[in-house]
Amino acid sequence: MENLIALLVAAPLLGAAVLLCGGRRLDKTGHWLGTLLAAVSFGIGAVLFVDMLGRPADDRTMDQFLYSWIPVEGFQADVAFQLDQLSMTFVLLITGVGTLIHVYSIGYMEHDERRRRFFGYLNLFLAAMLLLVLADNYLLLYVGWEGVGLASYLLIGFWQHKPSAATAAKKAFLVNRVGDMGLSIAIMLMFTTFGTFAFGPVLGSVGRTSEGTLTAIGLMLLLAACGKSAQVPLQSWLGDAMEGPTPVSALIHAATMVTAGVYLIVRSGAIFNASPDAQLVVAIVGAVTLLFGAIVGCAKDDIKKALAGSTMSQIGYMVLAAGLGPIGYAFAIMHLVTHGFFKAGLFLGAGSVMHGMNDEVDMRKYGGLRKYMPVTFVTFGLGYLAIIGFPGLSGFWSKDKIIEAAFAKGGTEGWILGGVALLGAAITAYYMTRVMLLTFFGEKRWQPAPDPDTAPSVEPGIEVHPGDMPHPHESPRSMTIPMIVLAFGSVFAGGLFSLNESFVTWLEPVTSFEHGHPPIGAAAVTGATMVALVLGVALAYAQYGRRPVPVVAPRGSLLTRAARRDLFQDDFNHVVLVRGGEHLTRSLVYVDHSLVDGAVGGTAAAVGGLSGRLRKLQNGYARSYAVSMFGGAAVLVAATLLMRGV
């Protein structure tokens, strides 16, 4: 059975290799191959899952050792896999959602001449992501970690001819690299502390070392997580990442890759448990991000950016939960899974809408679409209800638990974190309702299609003729079916998981679980959440449901404007990092040329000058030569005499 694990990774990897090296002759069939291999991977995952369920809870971990990767004196890095409940959860999520999105993309990318390469990249991503969650040591995880970074780089920049896309891709990679730095430093710390970086030994022996070391490791891991999961302060890339094709946004930047950070933290739970400080920082980062993302989400008129903001904020919830320790790990993962369903669904819906609207992304130019694309409307609507945590739907179960856990953290930070989470819930309800209303309700506010050059994102679906009115229509089957499936997930997954805490018990052997007891009682928390929800929805309805929406965005309050600019974090980066960096490099180039190089050139010039001056002594007059000889003789004699002191 264990030997199947490698196949999980191998299948999509093979697909990537074939598709990327295959050349034009695969253009016709490539997408089918890609989708098939994704499905194969899912199949294997399912088989392993069934097998795993068949075993007793305490012995569900499977290991597969492939070969010793970097055998160097005192340094053991293996290519070996570890499949336990946690990674299994991810495997199913990744391959499952992944397969659906492959299917969706078949329709979505139909008219793109580089579709083969697109599927190649998608497969590459699946392979890397599976490697990430299956690795049994941090170094191999690092490989997957950067692999998904690469895949996301390639996919964000898939339409490289658009400078904005290329820039966004570069930005994403760079910001992630900063996180990767954290991860590699963490690994180095583990190596110097424990002499290894395999999960088992490291997590097994946290007790033996100082808390300071562990805090350092923890914070470095957190830095990595922030990069990958777009947490403050490394969140800036996610918004721009929406330049990529919508399926990419759905798969990578909503459902799977961005949750890798959560995986890392939960996987390293032992380290954080042993270092409360690091854990608290995690929780704080999560809390800050969930507000940050939510606020940004409220102000965006670009539907994808709004959803991106929401993603950020939802991951904030997960990180917050992961920062609560054993009372939160399970719920973090649970929210991660449910979020995977509904957020992917929402993005696919958004994609479908854009598909029907000449790739218009500005929600102020939508309106009343529910009549034109019913399937999209329904699926999107269910996703909407799920994310705002409408009772009974997936989001409700997971998010509510996180808020409870946050309160249960106890002490002032418990109150603060809980309060933030609660507030976040309200804001979530607000901005999602806003999206819903702007898109599907109200009167139609369509306008002639934007000029492809100026359009924020020109996706090659139907060819766009500047100036013709969009004619909204429902998307093809290949796109709607995945949406429907995901909608099911968004509705039932949460409930299913919560049936006598099946999900928690499933994960417990890995993540360990404690029941959190909020000071005010679970029911009260749930009640509060409901209130927050209603408030949010009501406010949104008051603003966007009752009166007509201006097509041109009003100037808005200071906060709104700030939020539209992502709370100035990009401007900050630009001024501090980009400008500063440019000046630094420019001055260094100068230094290198004039000082370092100049020093050498200077000596050369000096020698030349000296030479020129000495030359003058050779003035051509025999008698002056004689003088020098006479002088020389005198010096010679004098010197000899002096030597003797005569």
């Binding site: 050779q618 003035n619 007059y621 025999a622 008698r623 004689a626 006479f630």
Partner: protein
Amino acid sequence: MNPVNYLYLAALLFTIGAAGVLIRRNAIVLFMCIELMLNACNLAFVTFSRMHGNLDGQIIAFFTMVVAAAEVVVGLAIIVSLFRTRHSASVDDASLMKL
């Protein structure tokens, strides 16, 4: 008379000759100064020969004269040919090559 005085004289002559070489322009004169230096050497040789009471110095003096004569032959040949080309015996005029 103290033979050392002859040495002083020799040194003096030598210095005069050297100074002449440094000061005078005319190749012939310059050359004569060199001859003077050689003769100063001769004087020194003879004096030392006397002081040491062996004849080596005196014999060397003869050798020196011969050599001087040979130098005259070669030297004059060169100087004369230079004079014929340039119509001047000034060594300072002959400074095509410098730097």
